[in-house]
C-alpha cells in the first residue's frame, strides 16, 4: 500500500515497507483517538443531561400534624409548592404510587403494613428553578412540617463521576495522540539513521539542517495526514453504525451519540499531520546538530 505517489525527484529515498507500517500504526492510533474524543464528548453530554435532570427536580417529605392525615398534608404541600415561583409542577405521591416504587425492592408481602413517608415530587422551572431554601420557606409559611431534598448530594456524585469519565476519555485521547507522536519521532530517528549517508551528502552539497528537516517534516506530515484520514474514516464508520443501530438514544441513554459528534473528529488528519510535522522537525534537528553544537555539548 502506498499512500502517496512516488516521486523520483524526491530528495529522500522512500522506505516503502517501514512507512507503510508506520502509516498503519498512526491510522490505528488515530482511530482510537477519534473514538476516545467522541466518547469524551458523549460522556460529557450524558453528565450534563443527568445533572440538568437532577437540578430540575426536588422531593419533599411531609410530616402530618396531629389530627391531619399524611395524604391531606401531602396534598396541601403540593398545592402550596405549585403556587411558588420557580416551580413548574408539584404532585403529591399517593400511597399506591409509593408502593409501586418500592415493590421491586421489597416485594409484595411487607408493603401493606409498612409505614411509608408522604412525598411530594416537584418539577422545577428549568429557566429559573426555585432553591431548596425557597421551597422550605414556602412550606413553613403554610404551616407545614416538611423537609426538602433538592438532590444536591446525589447530583454532586453524578457530576463528579461524569467529570471523571470525561477526564479519562480526554486522557485516553491525549495518550493516543502522544503515542502517535512518539511513533513518528521513532520513525524519523530511524529514517535519519537509515539515510545517514544521503543526509550527509545533502548537507555537504549545501543543504541546511532546516532544509533537511523539512524533507522529513513534509514526508511524515503527509504520511500522518493520510493515515489520520484513514483512522478518522474508520471511526466515522463505527460511529455511524452505532448511531444508526442504536436508535433514538444513540448507543444507550447513558452514552448518547449524536451525528454532530462526527464533526469533532474531522480535524483528526490535520492534528495528526501537525503532531507529525512538529515531532519530525524536533527529531531531525536534534539528530542533525552540526559540529559547532556538538562541540558545545562536549565542552
Amino acid at each position: 500500500m502506498r499512500l502517496f505517489p512516488r516521486s523520483d525527484t524526491d530528495l529522500l529515498p522512500r522506505e516503502a515497507a517501514g512507512e507503510t507500517w508506520l502509516a498503519a500504526v498512526i491510522a490505528v492510533l488515530c482511530f482510537i483517538a477519534c473514538l476516545a474524543a467522541v466518547g469524551a464528548a458523549s460522556a460529557d453530554r450524558a453528565a450534563q443531561g443527568w445533572a440538568r435532570q437532577l437540578r430540575a427536580e426536588a422531593t419533599v417529605q411531609v410530616r402530618p400534624r396531629v389530627g391531619e392525615t399524611g395524604a391531606t398534608a401531602a396534598a396541601r404541600a403540593a398545592e402550596t409548592l405549585a403556587g411558588t415561583d420557580g416551580v413548574a409542577e408539584a404532585v403529591a405521591l399517593d400511597r399506591k404510587a409509593a408502593e409501586d416504587l418500592l415493590r421491586p425492592w421489597l416485594g409484595e408481602a411487607v408493603l401493606p403494613d409498612m409505614p411509608l413517608p408522604f412525598l411530594v415530587t416537584v418539577r422545577l422551572d428549568p429557566d429559573a428553578p426555585a432553591s431548596a431554601v425557597t421551597l422550605s420557606r414556602a412550606l413553613a409559611t403554610a404551616g407545614l412540617d416538611a423537609s426538602v431534598d433538592d438532590h444536591a448530594q446525589w447530583r454532586g456524585d453524578v457530576e463528579r463521576s461524569a467529570a471523571l469519565i470525561t477526564l479519562m476519555a480526554g486522557f485516553a485521547f491525549l495518550l493516543t495522540a502522544g503515542a502517535a507522536g512518539a511513533a513518528i519521532v521513532y520513525a524519523t530517528r530511524a529514517g535519519l539513521m537509515a539515510r545517514r549517508s544521503v543526509i550527509e551528502t545533502l548537507s555537504l552539497a549545501g543543504a541546511s539542517d532546516s532544509a533537511i528537516a523539512w524533507l522529513f517534516q513534509r514526508r511524515f506530515g503527509l504520511l500522518a495526514a493520510g493515515a489520520g484520514a484513514v483512522g478518522m474514516a474508520l471511526a466515522l464508520l463505527v460511529i455511524g453504525s452505532v448511531r444508526f443501530l442504536g436508535g433514538s438514544d444513540g448507543l444507550v441513554a447513558a452514552l448518547p451519540l449524536t451525528w454532530g459528534d462526527a464533526l469533532i473528529i474531522l480535524p483528526c488528519p490535520l492534528i495528526a499531520a501537525g503532531v507529525a510535522v512538529v515531532s519530525a522537525r524536533l527529531a531531525a534537528l536534534s539528530r542533525l546538530s552540526g559540529p559547532a553544537r556538538r562541540r558545545k555539548r562536549l565542552a
Binding site: T9, P13, E200, T201, G206, S208, P291, A292
Partner: protein
Amino acid sequence: MPDRFENLMPLSPRRAAVPLASSEPVRLEGVGFGYANRPDVLRDINLVLTRGSFHFLTGPSGAGKTSLLRLLTLAERPTAGRLSLFGSDVTGIADQEVPLLRRRMGMVFQDFRLLDHLDAFENAALPLRLAGRRRAEYADDVREMLNWVGLGDRITARPQALSGGEQQRLAIARAVMAGPDLIIADEPTGSVDPAMADRLMVLFQSLNRQGTTVLIASHDENIAARSGATVLRLSGGFLREGLG
C-alpha cells in the same frame, strides 16, 4: 612546474597577521584537530591555497588526510588555530552559516556518495536544486555538463546502472555543477582502474585550467607525482611539502 602549481605558502606566525584576501580560498594558521578523548590527529597545520591552485594531499592511511578535508568542508571544527575559507575566518562559524559556504565548494568522495534513488541528471543537478534554482533554469547546463564528463547518453541512468568510472565522473559533474571556487576530492581515483584514474586526473586538470582551485587527497603518490601538481604530505599529524 607550471605557475599555477607554485601557490603553496607555508605560513610563519608573522604572516598569519596579514589581512585575509578573498583570493585565498583556504588558509589554515596553526590549526590543530583531534577527536574527543583521543590524541590530536592534526597539529600546527599552516597552509594557504590560492585561487586557481592545484594541490595533492598525500600520506599514509590514518595520517589525517580525511580529517583535514573534514575541517575544510566544515564537517568538523579546529580544536586549535584559525581556519579561513574564501577570505572569512570560519573557525567558530555557526552551523547555520555552513551551507552557504559549502555551496562554494564541490566535493568528490572515494565512495562517490551518489543518491541511488535519483538518476544521473538529478544527481548532477543536486547542488543547483539545493541552491533553490528551478529545473527550467539549469536543465541545459546539466545536460552540457554530463556531456562534458562523457555521460551524455546516460542521463536517465541510476547510479547502480553505471560503472565505477562513470559513477566517479558523475560525482565530479555534481561537484563542479554549481561552478564552485574550490574542489575538494577525497581519494577520487581509489575505486577505479589506472586508466580511468588518469582520465579523471585530466578532468580535474581541465577544471583547474578554468580557474577552479583543486585539492585532491590521495594515498597514491605515483598519481600525485605524475600530475605535476604541488604535493603536500601529512605525516604524524604534521604537514610538509613534497613527496616523502
